[in-house]
């Protein structure tokens, strides 16, 4: 690890102020994505701003229509929350399937979204439920948030404060894990809320994306049968030692069907 300066933020204002002042500053949430590349000397931030004691960033609020999750809420808290389990069981299950217990007790939703790993789980729920990402400056619709490989709409120093998920009629996330990292080779999130259907894929592209072909078919008939013959084009999908583009394209339909069948 290269040397860096460490700053402990007291509150959101403080965190943002430090970020403005320091060069090459990075927020430190759970550290699960940020620290490993630092240890491998692949990342070299000059300043880390620790958010772990910013109490106002953590916590879950559920009302009849929404589930709001603070940026510093650990995956484990979401997975174990009775309220989340009741309102959006798919979200609790998704959080409970991220990494291992150690990762889930450290990793946060804010860190996961800001990082936008191409194979991450949380972004599927955010886009798949049409959530809103709130920052110290503004509210960003999920559809505008994920812009590319490890790229988001966040500006330099912009801090995610919370994520507000509308409660769907039903939803489900199915992940086909990479046997090594256990991130997704492909993961599919589907949701239905009134007439709106969303189908979001992770692992197969530079970042999460919606699959219009599946959404259209499910709007007419929210059943696995409705998408049985859907064939996703392989071109443009990720292809690596863990799966070819063709295989990933195939998995999109298989997993979407399972997600529809499992939606609750």
């Amino acid at each position: 690890m290269y040397e860096f300066d460490y700053h402990k933020a007291k509150n959101v204002k403080d965190a943002v102020a430090i970020a403005k002042k320091q060069d090459e500053a990075k927020y430190l949430a759970g550290g699960m994505s940020l620290v490993p590349p630092m240890k491998l000397r692949l990342a070299k931030p000059g300043n880390l701003i620790d958010l772990n004691e910013v109490g106002e960033l953590a916590g879950i609020k559920v009302d009849g229509k929404t589930v709001a999750v603070g940026a510093m809420t650990r995956h484990e808290s979401v997975a174990e929350s009775k309220d989340v389990k009741k309102a959006i069981p798919a979200l609790a299950k998704l959080a409970g399937g991220i990494g291992d217990p150690q990762v889930r007790h450290r990793g946060t939703i804010g860190g996961s979204l800001a990082n936008s790993d191409p194979a991450a789980c949380y972004p599927t729920a955010v886009l798949g439920l049409g959530a809103t990402i709130e920052t110290d400056q503004r509210k960003i619709a999920a559809d505008d948030f994920f812009t590319g490989l490890f790229e988001t709409a966040l500006k330099e120093g912009e801090l995610i404060t919370k994520v507000v998920f509308p409660v769907p009629d039903k939803a489900c996330y199915i992940k086909f894990p990479n046997p090594a990292s256990r991130f997704s080779i492909v993961g599919v999130f589907v949701s239905k809320k009134g007439n709106e259907v969303r189908c979001v894929v992770t692992g197969a592209g530079p970042c999460v994306f919606r699959v219009k072909g599946i959404e259209d078919a499910l709007k007419k008939d929210f059943s696995p049968k409705a998408i049985e013959n859907y064939k996703h084009p392989a071109s443009g999908l990720n292809s690596d030692i863990h799966g070819s583009a063709e295989y990933r394209a195939h998995l999109i339909t298989v997993l979407a069907k399972r997600a529809v069948a499992g939606a609750e």
């Binding site: 690890m1 086909f176 046997p179 090594a180 030692i241 863990h242 070819s244 295989y247 195939h250 298989v254």
Partner: protein, 782 residues
């Protein structure tokens, strides 16, 4: 002796308390006064000329003690690393053993090849400075594909090795095999790849070199499965120091799996550097270095053919293999795809004629050497896969086809077509028992039930054999091995009755402290908790060859038993004197000497005390109670058995789940059934890992794409079903304990069992390892 702690008891492992409470003494736990830290500058290219090394800036960085390069090594006349086994080619020529300097000075040959060692006050400073060492590379084309490495146009790894060929070896009778094939009713054929695996010991390799100017001696703390072999090589070949001036210490070790047998550039450079800088130098590999520089295993490309007669009898077996050696010949690399592979191709069967040829070739990849099983998993994979292909071709039940061809229990000793002589075994009995445990008969019902759930269920067998307890020194010597493969053990009794055992076998997770204590307790009656097992220090133990090839109990354990017997014989003289009878009247049982037919007796503890306080003592007998035995086995041992795997395949994704595992092994006599079962479980886990998950992948330029756990898939607990294992015990007839060894069995047996099960589930001929979901899906949709 006491059933609770004697041979055959599942005694809890005495070493585990310190391990699970974080009190083990692993290499990185050791720190020496004045210690500096080393970090290696490594090649980022698979093949390049080194056009220049500029360490000026690095040398002046904070904390830097010294930057050492290959030129310094040469100036000090430090020799290169060696390969200890000369395997002769078909034409009688020697194995090509190209130079392997600890620090490359003109050419780098794989990504990770060490170029310089930076020594600094802290690890971080050494690493910072290593990044500042400027190496100018002229990048050259790299040869990565093993199947083309000996072809025209291949990039040449060593200028003095034509066509990259280390050797072109054969075993068996080609003529007889051709004749067998000529009269075959059916020939089954298969091309297969045995995938390259990384050893992945939990504790990475590490070393501390220390030099003492006062007596001009060196101490090397290193993660070694065989510290005396390390000392021998570093003395006699590398010329660090004469043996009496070099002590090698290998303390608690977090796994080896073969990868810590070898003498690597890293510890060689570290021990040499210690004298140069006049301070202890410590190096600890990180995980990325481990993936790139720990010797890999397997990596064979093979064509196999099996000739059968009308009745399904195996007439002949023909095998042609290309084995990847990587960039240099590691310490025992040459014997793995030859004498530990071709000699095992008889399997458990009466195959009438066998011929095997192996081309060992260099590529610009990490060196390949022994990994758990070493050669024997590759041989077993070839045999057990081709049998299933034949069974499928001929529509014969695979268990039945195996049984028809098995060597019968009354046929021992059995001379194979490929040099070995099997000493004992009962293969049909192990098969029968394994099939019972597996409820083989009930499989069809389970398959139908799985089908209703949308899953394809398959069953696969693997009836393996291995040659363990390596090895009779005369035999391996005749085959080109540079060392003997005996083992040494000393038992030192203390006056108050406790015992210390000094043994050449090295424990790195196997539970030797428990197993060897049981052997001593059984014979001498020394209380279990009063027996200390000391290993891994050339300053303490007798010259020993170390632990690999499942040899610890079968060679080290027998040396220990023989040393114990020497003590008993000495004690008999003392007892006879004390009890005032002739030696021949004394019998020894359960730790007590008694006079036959009387109630006169004295315990081994009392006799020991007398030996150290010899007030009333036989005239002419030396005081003291200590004995050393060296044991050179008369033959290999031959553990064998049958494993049965059941898988369920998800046809939509190709995902494979191992749902049932049943096994019956024959390890001869068993000292600690719990430890043995643990070894078998670990081996099966290793083998399932190779079959389903693991595999080193290089890109065309020679970059290792699987250099972290993000990309290299290790098996985890949820990859396994409950494993059901049992044993039969046909004692080894040629060693005093009747033992055979168990550490590699699972890793040898498992891969073909898994792949056979998958092929059965899909009704296809073959799926390559690792049988990833995508590969299985492709096979289903081919």
């Amino acid at each position: 002796m006491g059933a609770e702690f004697g041979i055959g008891a599942s005694v809890k492992r005495k070493e585990d308390f310190r391990f699970v409470t974080g009190r083990g003494n692993y290499l990185d736990d050791i720190n020496r006064p004045g210690q500096a830290y080393g970090y290696f500058v490594r090649s980022p290219y698979a093949h390049a000329k080194i056009a220049g090394i500029d360490a000026k800036k690095a040398s002046k960085m904070p904390g830097v003690v010294r930057v050492l390069t290959g030129a310094d090594l040469e100036a000090d006349k430090i020799g290169g690393l060696i390969c200890g086994w000369n395997v002769k080619s078909k034409d009688g020529t020697d194995t090509r053993m190209p130079k392997h300097p600890a620090l490359a000075s003109d050419t780098v040959r794989y990504v990770g090849d060490a170029i310089a060692l930076v020594v600094a006050e802290t690890y971080a400073q050494a690493r910072d400075a290593a990044e500042a060492v400027k190496v100018k590379y002229d990048v050259l084309p790299a040869q990565i594909d093993v199947s083309k490495a000996d072809k025209k146009g291949a990039a040449i790894v060593h200028a003095d090795v034509r066509r990259n060929m280390a050797y072109d070896w054969e075993i068996g009778d080609k003529k007889a095999t051709d004749a067998a094939f000529a009269k075959a009713a059916h020939v089954a054929k298969l091309d297969l790849v045995n995938n390259r695996v990384a050893p992945n010991a939990m504790e990475p390799r590490a070393a501390i070199g220390e030099y003492s100017a006062s007596d001009d001696s060196f101490t090397l703390y290193t993660t070694s499965q065989n510290p005396h072999v390390a000392r021998l090589v570093l003395s006699a070949f590398v010329q660090i120091a004469p043996e009496h001036k070099l002590r090698v210490v290998s303390p608690d070790m977090g796994g080896g799996f073969g990868s810590k047998i070898f003498i690597y550039p890293d510890e060689t450079a570290v021990i040499w550097a210690a004298k140069k800088v006049g301070r202890p130098v410590k190096w600890t590999s990180d995980r990325a270095e481990a993936f790139q520089t720990d010797c890999h295993g397997r990596d064979h490309v093979t064509h196999v053919e099996l000739a059968l007669d009308q009745g399904g009898k195996f007439l002949g077996l023909r095998v042609s293999t290309k084995a990847n050696m990587g960039a240099y010949l590691s310490t025992f690399a040459s014997c793995v795809p030859s004498y530990l592979y071709g000699t095992l191709l008889q399997g458990q069967y009466t195959t009438g004629a066998i011929h095997c040829e192996v081309k060992a070739v260099f590529t610009h990849t990490t060196p390949v050497d022994a990994v758990r099983g070493a050669g024997r998993p590759e041989a077993t994979y070839v045999i057990e896969r081709i049998i299933d292909v034949a069974a499928r071709d001929l529509k014969i039940d695979p268990a039945d086809l195996r049984r028809r061809n098995m060597i019968q229990p009354n046929a021992f000793p059995y001379q194979t077509q490929v040099a070995l002589q099997y000493d004992s075994g009962n293969y049909p009995a192990a098969l029968t028992k394994a099939l019972e445990i597996a409820d083989y008969k009930g499989f069809a019902q389970r398959r139908d039930e799985a089908k209703r759930r949308g899953k394809l269920r398959g069953i696969g067998l693997s009836s393996y054999i291995e040659a363990c307890g390596i090895a009779p020194s005369a035999v391996v010597g005749a085959l080109g091995c540079g060392v003997g493969l005996y083992e040494g053990a000393t038992v030192r009794m203390n006056p108050t009755g406790s015992a210390i055992v000094y043994i050449g076998s090295h424990s790195h997770g196997q539970g030797h402290e428990t197993t060897f204590s049981q052997v001593v307790h059984e014979r001498l009656g020394v209380p279990f908790e009063q027996i200390e097992i000391v290993h891994g220090d050339t300053g303490k133990i007798p010259f020993g060859m170390g632990t690999y090839g499942s040899r610890s109990i079968a060679v080290g354990g027998v040396a220990l038993q023989n040393a114990v017997d020497k003590l008993i014989e000495k004690g008999r003289k003392i007892a006879a004197h004390k009890l005032e009878v002739a030696e021949s009247d004394i019998q020894f049982k359960d730790g007590t000497y008694s006079v036959v037919g009387t109630d006169k007796k004295t315990s081994f503890a009392e006799v020991t005390f007398a030996a150290y306080v010899p007030h009333n003592y036989p005239a002419g007998l030396e005081p003291g109670m200590e004995a050393t035995a060296f044991y050179d086995p008369a033959n290999f041992t031959f553990p064998a058995g049958t494993h049965v795997c059941e898988v369920e395949v998800d046809p939509d994704t190709g995902g494979v789940e191992v749902v049932k595992w049943s096994a019956c092994d024959d390890f001869g006599r068993i000292i600690n059934p719990m430890i043995v079962e643990g070894q078998v479980h670990g081996g099966i886990a290793h083998g399932i890992g190779q079959a389903l998950l693991e595999g080193c992948v290089y890109d065309k330029s020679g970059q290792l794409l699987t250099a972290s756990y993000m990309d290299y898939a290790m098996p985890r607990a949820d990859n396994f079903p409950t494993i059901k294992v049992d044993t039969i015990q046909t004692p080894c007839p040629h060693n005093a304990l009747g033992v055979k060894g168990c550490g590699e069995a699972g890793a040898i047996a498992a891969p073909p069992a898994v792949v056979n099960a998958i092929a059965n589930a899909l009704n296809v001929k073959h799926v390559e390892m690792p049988a990833t979901a995508e590969r299985v899906w492709q096979a289903l949709n081919a």
